[in-house]
């Protein structure tokens, strides 16, 4: 792509990533969550691939694959950790753990991140899975040559 596109892409990449991670992080308080935030981050990857090409974007399929499996494992693992009561039991909420152990205050709040138990962790797990999964899909689509060429 032209230098203009590459420069703008490079400039926009960081804000897109930050916004995506913000959506993941605030998933238990505001609209959005792991899937939406992960998709935003993956759109940043897509921008890089469009601007610099599949090889030049610096994305590694092996690394994305590990992150994807890791995200899914964290999600299912958190569900398994609740087995003291039941599968998916929110064992951190309401005083059960040291972090995220407060209830989400009803109504508008200034962004009390330290709430909702395992939900923020699960949002991160889903976010990692989705950003790596969608990222590798976009990467593979770009890597395989199309039939016309």
């Amino acid at each position: 792509m032209s230098k203009l596109v590459r420069t703008i892409g490079w400039l926009l990449y960081a804000p897109i990533l930050i916004f995506g991670f913000y959506v993941i992080m605030h998933g238990h308080l505001t609209p959005g969550g792991g899937f939406q935030g992960g998709a935003v981050v993956a759109s940043g990857f897509a921008l890089l691939i469009v601007a610099y090409g599949a090889k030049g974007a610096g994305l590694k399929e092996r690394l994305l694959s590990v992150v994807e499996s890791g995200g899914a494992l964290i999600f299912v693992g958190l569900a398994f950790l609740g087995l003291g009561a039941t599968f998916f039991y929110n064992f951190l909420a309401a005083g059960g753990g040291v972090v995220f152990n407060e209830l989400v205050p009803p109504g508008p709040n200034p962004g009390d991140l330290n709430t909702a138990g395992t939900l923020p962790l699960m949002n991160w797990a889903v976010g990692l899975k989705v950003l790596a999964g969608l990222g590798s899909i976009v990467l593979l689509l770009a890597l395989f040559p199309s039939e016309e060429e």
Binding site: S65, S69, V76, F80, A85, T86, Y89
Partner: protein, 523 residues
Amino acid sequence: MDILAHVPILVVGIPLLGAFATPLIARAGARARNWFAIFILLLTTALAIALAVSVFQAGPRVYVLGGQSFGFTLPSGYFFPIRIILEADGLSAFFVLIIAVTTLLGAIYSTAFMRAHSGLEKYYALLLLLAAGMFGMVVTGDAFNFFVFLEITSIAATGLVAFRTGRAESGEAAFKMMVLYNIGGLLVLLAVAILYGQYGALNFAYLAKLIEYSLLDVVALALFVLALALKAGAVPMHMWVPDAYPAAPAPVTMVMVANTQIGLYGLYRICFSLYGLKLTPALVGWIVIILGILSIFIGVSMAVIQRDLKRLIAYSGIAQIGYMLLGVGVGLAVLGTPALDSYGLMAMKGGIFHIVNHALYEGLLFLAAGAVSYRAGTRNLDQLGGLAHNMRWTAFFFIIGGAAIAGLPPFNGFASKLIIYESVFKFNPILAVIALLASIITLAIYARAFQSVFVGPKLPAYKDVREAPPSMMFAMAILAALVVLFGLFPDLVVRYLVSPAAQALVNRAQYIEAILGAGLGVR
């Protein structure tokens, strides 16, 4: 922590965990990956047996996801369930056993069969994901959860059918499947949305208590029947089956057979447990019977003319799905009348017994056909011949499978077909005659297939063909042994496996009470 208390979710959770861990374990080498997948499925099989035993002994099991206690279906202050609740009754336990056995043997068979392929960590991950989805569909008691697991099985199955990307047929079959499965999945979603819009709940038991059979409920029922009959591959929604079965690797085809039967599970669950006597049993029963008769007739007559071994088995498998629809359809048609006790329940037992028999012998036939194509390199009946000289055991296993699918004694297909013929004859003699004739044609089809693949002089092209590798022989031997055992002791199988499943279908009140009557406390 009491492991047994958590068994209903563990049969779903363990394969799911295994599916996501497989790509990481695969970094340690192919051997570690294969053993890990087999270990996970062995563990799941043990849990599945534990679940089935506890359900057969103590009645339906419920499990509340994310609740403070797994039996806490109705939190205080609520009079309907709000969490996702799993409910495993006799029918679920019956299917859980089928899924566990087929996926475990499929993974064992795959270790040799798929050795030459690359990217196998994704293959085993998809296989485990398919297992998790199927387990989820049969143990869930929640309509939306049912849809989610249906989609998981659809996506995993499509990926597995498309796995051998080097072949043009794989991509074509997988695309066809993907389109049809997606249409089916969306129909189920629409039906769930209709029920949710009317009753504001998603729990099957609670919906079953409220359901009124209004016009919208009729629409939802029609959507469910259409989508799940498509998933089961019943005529006239069968067109993806003869493409997908031959295109998939042989062990996947065996698991796919179990996957189509999960479509039947959904159909039975919706008709009997969700709607029950509220629907017009005679009408819906006859619709199911007609789907069954069409499947038997078209499946058998298309199988006669096939030249591809796996395609032939796929078409005759469609016919066998017809027997299951016929048996249970007769039970549905006489639901709530005195005829249910005189022959309806027996017909249902025949249909349900045929499900487990079909999973075993159809799996055996596909594995034997896979062994033939693995060694001889083709599945074309015109080119093959004389393989029994070099592949004695595979030929022997194929005879067992062929005799069982044709309903010859003393194999398991005979036992279930006899029950179906006898009870359906009392309902309507013509239906029984059609089923019997189709069975005779099936015998002719398999005699011809066996003759053209295994019998005859040694062909020069196949003079160096060797017997299948040990892991493939092992999977086939287990299935063949089960086929013979189920044929020799059908009374035991019917008493301990099939009867509880049929009773669970008829006993709708028990299904509802397990969730709405249990209340506080732990079962």
